[in-house]
Amino acid sequence: MAAISPQHTFDGELTQPLTVTQGNMLSCVEPDYRGFIAPNSLRRMTRVLKMGLATSLKCLQDGGIAVPGAIVTGTGKGSLQDTERFIKEIRDYEERALNPTPFIQSTYNAVNGLIALQQKCTQYNNTFVHRGFSFEHALLDSLLLLSEGTPDVLAGAFDEITPEHFFIKGRIGHWKKETISNDQLYAHVSPGTISGEGAAFFLLTPQATEKSYAQIGGLQMLYKPSSEKLQCTLSQFLEQHGVQADEIDLVLTGANADSNHGHYYDVLTAYPKWTQLPFKHLCGDYETVGAFALWLGAMIVKQQQVPQHWFPMLEKQPGRMRNVLIYNHFFGEQHCFMLLQQVK
């Protein structure tokens, strides 16, 4: 696995202190890309392309595989910078003598194409672009591929935020009116949340290897569910995967202090014994934040420890972490449960 996020995650450790951002827009801590991308390519590429490509390459390096059996990604926004640039150039140059590069890079499958090109991967290649289901369907597609016999799949997600887009989404109430720092997020329950971005990639195999971080035990998506449907689906989800409620050792939740959509997380109150940790003070909120949650959950399962310096709200380290549940939704519309299990 590999992740670039607003925390120091690219080195693959959870040891760095919490990065605190003033204001409501979290930006990624970007690594030095020169180890991954040739200088002439680097110059042309905008931020999310670099983030996506570098994360995928680091992930392959981590998994010890150069050419995966398939590449599947999710992105809610693709390359926003290139989209913004091309739309402005159409206006500024009155549709004449345009540079095609931002248009090419604005296509949502551009990162996938770059990964395939760089690794000479001629196999299955797909890109999902559906808000809070972008990464989740990339993951489902990957699980289907593995069950169909593909030996390994590179699955990932990437999204960026720009100041212009932050302003635009702010106009329809996505972000908090008050300006806060991310470490104070949960003390500000009010309309809206804080914005974030990130890239995370996973190399998935049908059997565990010595390098495996965790096992994906289950994945369930729900589109605009009622609270009753959500409740019912959660208990069915556990049952379907043979997990008793008291076997869930930790829950990572997408709770983001947004009073408009926060009530969905009440579904978890039916299980008062569960240790719940919200994670969005680390990464902000964005379409493919589920990929960051999966990365974080898998790190925790592998290390059998919650990084206390990132979660000051944690009163006591959970004991053994065999089953970690992730529940996230994107502004109340796309909901997802993921079950992560310790590799036996």
């Binding site: 296509t107 996938n112 090109l117 290649n125």
Partner: protein, 404 residues
Amino acid sequence: MAERVFITGMGMITAIGDDVAENLRSLRAQQSGLGYTQQLQTIYKEVLPVAEVKHTTPGLSEIAGVAGQEGYTRTALLGLIAMREALRSAGISNVQDEPTGFINASTVGGMCDTENVYFEIADPAKTGDFIRFIDTLDCADCTQRIADTVGIDGYITTISTACSSSANALMYGARLIRSGLARRVICGGTEALTRFTLNGFNSLKNIDKRPCMPFDKDRNGLNLGEGAAYLVLESESLVKDRNAPVLAVLSGYANTNEAFHPTAPSPEGDGAYAAMKGAMEMGGCVPADIQYVNVHGTATLSNDVAEGMALQRLFGEQVPPFSSTKPFTGHTLAAAGGIEAIYAVLAIQHQLIFPNLHFKEQMEELYITPASTLLEDYPVRHVLSNSFGFGGNNASLLISKYEG
């Protein structure tokens, strides 16, 4: 053994017709949908031909049955019209009688409407009606608008792999059915004309100022088009349960990547070859089983060489009749794979091979030429439908006659 995947309904709207029947009529009459835009604000209005759906956006909202309701972009309306026809055609009066998925495809989502108000949206000094378009820019908006309007709440997502998007949507839907995760999934794509894409392809210098000429020596690029198309896919067991008529079988598919260049195929058409071969193998077909190939055939210099080379490699001296229907509909980007999958079904149902309009002279690089006249009473059992795109994305579908 995974269940077979049947096509039980289809709906579409393109520049050559507001529904499947009108499309068939125009294909038979060899009537192209190419002309100059009436809807798009662009300096290329009378310079670059496009295949535009012949209705204003308010006109489309009437056809879609949502006249006067706010927030539907042209992309969503085209899609909604095609979706309603697909449901009717499959005999589905209540879509919630069976958990139903919707796998949609789009390349630029609601850009058609947002690009006209983008600078007002981004300007803190401006307020007004345009605010309602803020959330329509992404590709998910049109998918959810369509799903919410007709009441779909099963698996729902959007795929964007450039010009192969809706072929990949069909493939993903079929795989959800074969895995047992769903019994019914509606798949396809929707795309409206935009200044963004017109200028994008024009900046790449691959738009022809004349009506496009796929597989012709004199070809000089594509023409953009708009439209939407959805196919209802159902598992064999659901078809039996509800005694639904089967239009055709989605019997094979493959997705490959060129890994060659961000916007160009390899000259030998490696990805196209592998995609067609994979789809045929999955459907248990050998080259001699294929009666028609609906080629991607954009009429760009590089696509037609690569795709033609792939056809020659795969079929040798016995290349079956093939044609590009893009001179009829223009290149509808994310909708193309869905539209052409429906044309493949029509070819099977009506035993037709559609002509590759505007073909005059054989390409120097190839020994094959496309079908240039309408072939009627042609025994079509298996059709390959190709969709290739930027990012090296290739998809090929094998659509077969239902024979029990």
